[in-house]
C-alpha cells in the first residue's frame, strides 16, 4: 500500500502540490488527471523523491520513504517512467534496459559494486533485458543508440526501463504521449497485463480520456495542486469540476 499524507511542496509562493493525502492499494490502477500544471508530475516527483517535500510524508507498505534519496526509493519498490523522455542517449537500447535490470537485482554483481567481474558474463541480465525488449516491440532496434530512435520508440523504451525495474508500484507519466495510434496499444496492452498481477499498484497520469476510461479502476483529480475529486471513473468524469476545468466543457452546455 502506497500512501501519501499531507504531501505539499511550495516553489517560492506557488504551492504546486497542496496537502495531498491519498493511498493506493495493490491491484488497482489509479488514473491521475487534471489540467496542465495541476501538479501531477510534481506529485510523482514527490513520491519518487526527485523533489523534496516541503511537508508531508510518503510511505510504502507501512515503511516511511520520506527523506530517502530517489535511488533508495527505487530499491524499496517504487518505479517511475518520465513524462519527458529521459534516457541514456549514447548507450544502445539493450544497454539501457540491462542497466535497469542490473539495478534491481542484488545478484552476484551486487548492483555493479562488484568491480572484478566481467559484465558480459552476467548472462541472466541480458536474457531478461531481451525478454522485455520483445515485450515492448523494440527488439529489432536493440543495438541502436537511443539518440537515433524516433520519438515514439524512445517513449516505449522509457516504459521498458520501468518494467525492467520490477517495482511494486508503477508510475506512468503520460506513457503514450507522442506515440502513434497504432503503437500506443502495445503499451496499453502491457499495462493491462500488469494489472493482472494483483500485487502491483499502478499510477497513471494520462490526458487521453478514452484510455483513462478504459483502464482505470479509480480516478483522482488534481487541480491547482489540490486533490479535488476521487472515485469511480464514470462518476468522476461526470463531475462538474472535471467537465469544466479539465475537459473544457461548460457545465451549462453539458446540462
Amino acid at each position: 500500500m502506497l500512501e501519501t499524507r499531507d504531501l505539499t511542496i511550495r516553489f517560492g509562493g506557488h504551492v504546486a502540490v497542496n496537502a495531498v493525502s491519498c493511498s493506493f492499494a495493490p491491484g488497482t490502477l489509479t488514473a491521475i488527471v487534471g489540467p496542465n500544471g495541476a501538479g501531477k508530475t510534481t506529485y510523482f516527483n514527490l513520491i519518487s523523491g526527485q523533489l523534496k517535500a516541503s511537508a508531508g510524508t510518503v510511505s510504502l507498505d507501512g515503511r516511511s520513504l520520506t527523506g530517502m534519496a530517489p535511488s533508495a526509493r527505487t530499491r524499496a519498490g517504487l518505479g517511475r517512467a518520465f513524462q519527458l523522455t529521459n534516457l541514456f542517449p549514447h548507450l544502445t537500447v539493450l544497454e539501457n534496459v540491462r542497466l535497469a535490470v542490473q539495478a534491481t537485482r542484488d545478484g552476484t554483481h551486487r548492483r555493479g559494486l562488484k568491480l572484478w567481474s566481467i559484465w558480459s558474463d552476467h548472462r541472466d541480465l541480458v536474457a531478461r533485458a531481451d525478454e522485455i525488449l520483445t515485450q515492448v516491440a523494440l527488439k529489432a532496434r536493440e543495438h541502436d543508440a537511443v539518440a537515433s530512435l524516433p520519438h515514439g520508440d524512445q517513449r516505449k523504451l522509457e516504459v521498458a526501463l520501468l518494467i525492467a525495474l520490477e517495482p511494486k508500484v508503477f508510475m506512468f507519466d503520460e506513457p503514450t504521449a507522442g506515440m502513434n495510434a497504432a503503437e500506443a496499444p502495445v503499451i496499453l496492452d502491457l499495462i493491462r497485463q500488469l494489472k493482472q498481477d494483483r500485487s502491483k499498484t499502478i499510477l497513471l497520469v494520462e490526458h487521453k480520456m478514452d484510455v483513462v476510461r478504459e483502464l482505470a479502476d479509480r480516478i483522482i483529480v488534481l487541480h491547482n495542486g489540490t486533490l479535488v475529486a476521487d472515485g469511480e471513473p464514470a462518476e468522476v468524469i461526470a463531475s462538474p469540476v472535471v467537465q469544466e476545468a479539465y475537459l473544457g466543457v461548460s457545465t451549462k452546455e453539458a446540462a
Binding site: N36, G37, T41, Q83, D153, A177, M209, L247
Partner: protein, 241 residues
C-alpha cells in the same frame, strides 16, 4: 504565384550514414491546413527539419512561395516567414517565459513592443503563458511548455506555420483551445503544416492530408475523402480514425 506555398520534390535526406527520406514529394496549399500523418519513425520529423534547413536535403528540391530554399540556411528560411515548433518544443529553459516570447517576436526590442492585442489573444488561449510570465520556462509543466512553444510560434504573424505534434501532453480543454487557435489563424490566411498523432485533432482541422511511411509519401489528398475511407486508413496507419 503558384497555389502551393510549400513544395517538396523528390527530397532525400541522410542523417550521418543513414538514408532517412527516400524522395518525398509534398505539397502544402496556401491558406489551408495540411496534416502530415504516419507511424513512429516514418520520417515526419525529418521532413519538417529538412524544410527548415536543420538537416540538409541530399537530393531534391524544397521551394517556398515559388522560391528555391533547399540550400538556404535555417535563419534565412525562418526570415521568409516560417514559424516552426519542433518536436522537443525547443524551450529555452533558463530564460523566463517572457524572454522566450520576446525572442520569438523578432521585431520587438523589449517585451513592451510586442503587439498587445495578439498577446491578449494568446493569453486567452493559453492562460499558463500569462500566469507564468516571469518564471523560468524550464520550471513549467510538460503541457505548459507545449503551450509556450505554440504561443511563441504565433506571437508574430507568419505566412507558414510548421508544428510537430502540438497536442501531446495537453489536457483536453487546452487541445480545444489549440484547435480554435489554428482555425482562427487559418481564417486569417496563414498556411499550416501539422504533424499529429491525435487523429481526432487531425480530423477536426485538416483540409488536406499526407501520409508517410518508411521515408516516403504514401498518400496525399483531401482530409474529407481520407476520413471516409476506413480501409485506406487501416492500410496506411494500421487503424482507423
Amino acid at each position: 504565384m503558384s497555389e502551393m506555398l510549400l513544395d517538396l520534390q523528390g527530397v532525400h535526406t541522410h542523417i550521418g550514414a543513414y538514408h532517412i527520406l527516400h524522395g518525398v514529394d509534398l505539397q502544402v496549399p496556401r491558406a489551408q491546413l495540411t496534416m502530415l500523418l504516419g507511424r513512429n519513425g516514418a520520417g515526419k520529423t525529418t521532413t519538417l527539419r529538412t524544410i527548415m534547413g536543420l538537416w540538409q536535403a541530399s537530393q531534391g528540391k524544397v521551394s517556398f512561395a515559388g522560391r528555391d530554399i533547399t540550400r538556404l540556411r535555417t535563419p534565412q528560411i525562418a526570415e521568409l516567414g516560417i514559424a516552426y515548433v519542433p518536436e522537443n518544443m525547443g524551450i529555452f529553459s533558463d530564460l523566463t517565459v517572457k524572454e522566450n516570447m520576446l525572442l520569438a517576436a523578432r521585431a520587438a526590442r523589449t517585451a513592451d513592443d510586442i503587439d498587445t492585442q495578439r498577446l491578449e489573444w494568446i493569453f486567452q488561449l493559453f492562460p499558463a503563458v500569462q500566469k507564468f510570465w516571469n518564471h523560468p520556462a524550464g520550471k513549467l509543466s510538460g503541457g505548459q511548455k507545449q503551450m509556450l512553444a505554440v504561443a511563441r510560434a504565433i506571437v508574430e504573424p507568419r505566412e507558414l506555420l510548421i508544428v510537430d505534434e502540438p497536442s501531446k501532453g495537453l489536457a483536453p480543454a487546452i487541445i480545444n483551445n489549440m484547435i480554435d487557435a489554428f482555425a482562427e489563424l487559418k481564417s486569417r490566411g496563414v498556411t499550416i503544416l501539422l504533424v499529429e498523432q491525435n487523429l481526432n485533432f487531425a480530423q477536426r482541422l485538416g483540409d488536406h492530408v499526407a501520409v508517410m511511411d518508411n521515408g516516403r509519401l504514401v498518400h496525399a489528398g483531401r482530409m474529407a475523402a481520407f476520413s471516409e475511407d476506413v480501409q485506406l486508413q487501416q492500410r496506411l496507419l494500421g487503424l482507423a480514425l
